[in-house]
Symmetry: C2
Subunit: 236 residues, 2 copies
């Protein structure tokens, strides 16, 4: 197949091999090529539409796996874990583990934008998921390699709740329930001396105080407040 | 199969027939039964987990259809249309068209809660979508009957932009791009006499004014401001 770039077919086959997919897998190569083409390289033929589909594909893959391996989990915990699994941070890590940056066609001007790199890798991974889903009509080209990543991460999150990103989880919850994002307000309430927590965060929804939390940094105080609020709302 | 309710199997078969699915379709009946059981009827065996999966299934079905029928649409327009298609309002309408309320097992106390009825129907539809997806491993038991609804709605939305819910579309856009919801501020700037617009709405993201809009009602002014902001952000 001619994808308009010399050697592109071979390159994409290498990635598919890295993902552990069978050599004879029926793949729509032109979609995979598109999934790994950034908008800076082509304004019209790039990964944007596929990323839009892939966003739904990755949520489905994560949901189905959680349902299978944790049948007794509450939906609140599902939502909390899923919001972490499908975050840019995690998707970028997974993309990095396969060296996606070597396969993504991107204009050099955009490639030098280091702050956008995480989003770019996460978006490309989502687009690749869409290309593979559209190739098979099922998740069969996805789950064999994505599940192990999600399994391990989900187990880590459940084992050590401190690793949980409660701000993301709370956001998912309040958006779903109240169509609104939680708001944080942080005050410096302690000193750096004495070992006590320096910051106190309050989190509100629709102006109502949900919870307070303290921490040594602003971020830690916000996470502590989010954790309290998340548990409170989840039990309600 | 014994689903614990006399006549339940027959009832579910009737719904499947109404959806136009083949009589010999391989369906996981226990999942379909669960999908049509409200939490008020069983605290442990209800549709909540399936609804969680169904939320991803319906997004995928909508995304894939839009990608197929409007290959030249911008991702911004996709997002705007999808946000309407997967809204509680639309999903409830679709559920109603098949008389889902006759199949949902719900405690009478909850059934009398009319304000929750729309969400309940939308949730049950999502859960049914999950049960059908998990039965087939593909969207083959879903798209034949869901696509025609989505096709018609998407065409209406595109034909008559005034039907578009720009507030929902803008929210989808700013959440995706900026992880934040737009904020509206409405002032009464006109009178009821004279025919001019009575309200002016401002919409901001991160405190930055995106757009202003006017209307005869608060809602209309907000929609007008959202429309301006949506077009502005989408072109950016």
């Amino acid at each position: 197949m001619n994808l308009g770039y010399p050697g592109r077919q071979k390159q994409l086959e290498k990635l598919v091999e890295k993902l552990g997919l069978p050599k004879n897998a029926s793949i729509k190569w032109e979609l995979l090529h598109l999934a790994l083409t950034h908008a800076s390289a082509s304004a019209t033929a790039n990964y944007e539409q596929l990323e839009f589909i892939g966003d739904a594909v990755v949520r489905l893959a994560a949901s189905q796996l959680l349902f299978e391996i944790y049948p007794d989990c509450s939906v609140g915990e599902f939502a909390a874990i899923r919001s972490i699994l499908v975050s840019d941070r995690i998707l970028c890590k997974i993309a990095d583990s396969y060296g996606f940056d070597r396969y993504l066609i991107v204009a050099s001007s955009a490639a030098s934008d280091k702050t956008g790199a995480e989003t770019r890798m996460a978006d490309a991974l989502e687009a690749v998921l869409a290309a593979l889903y559209l190739s098979a009509g099922t998740l069969e080209l996805i789950r064999p390699w994505l599940d192990p990543h999600f399994r391990q991460l989900a187990a880590e999150i459940r084992r050590d709740p401190a690793r949980q990103n409660y701000k993301a989880a709370l956001q998912e919850l309040t958006q779903g329930k109240h169509k609104v994002l939680p708001k944080y307000h942080v005050l410096e309430t302690g000193t750096t001396q004495g070992g006590e927590d320096r910051f106190t965060a309050e989190v509100r929804v629709h102006g109502n105080l949900l919870a307070r939390g303290t921490g040594r940094s602003i971020k830690a105080a916000e996470q502590a407040a989010a954790r309290e609020a998340f548990i409170k709302l989840n039990d309600a």
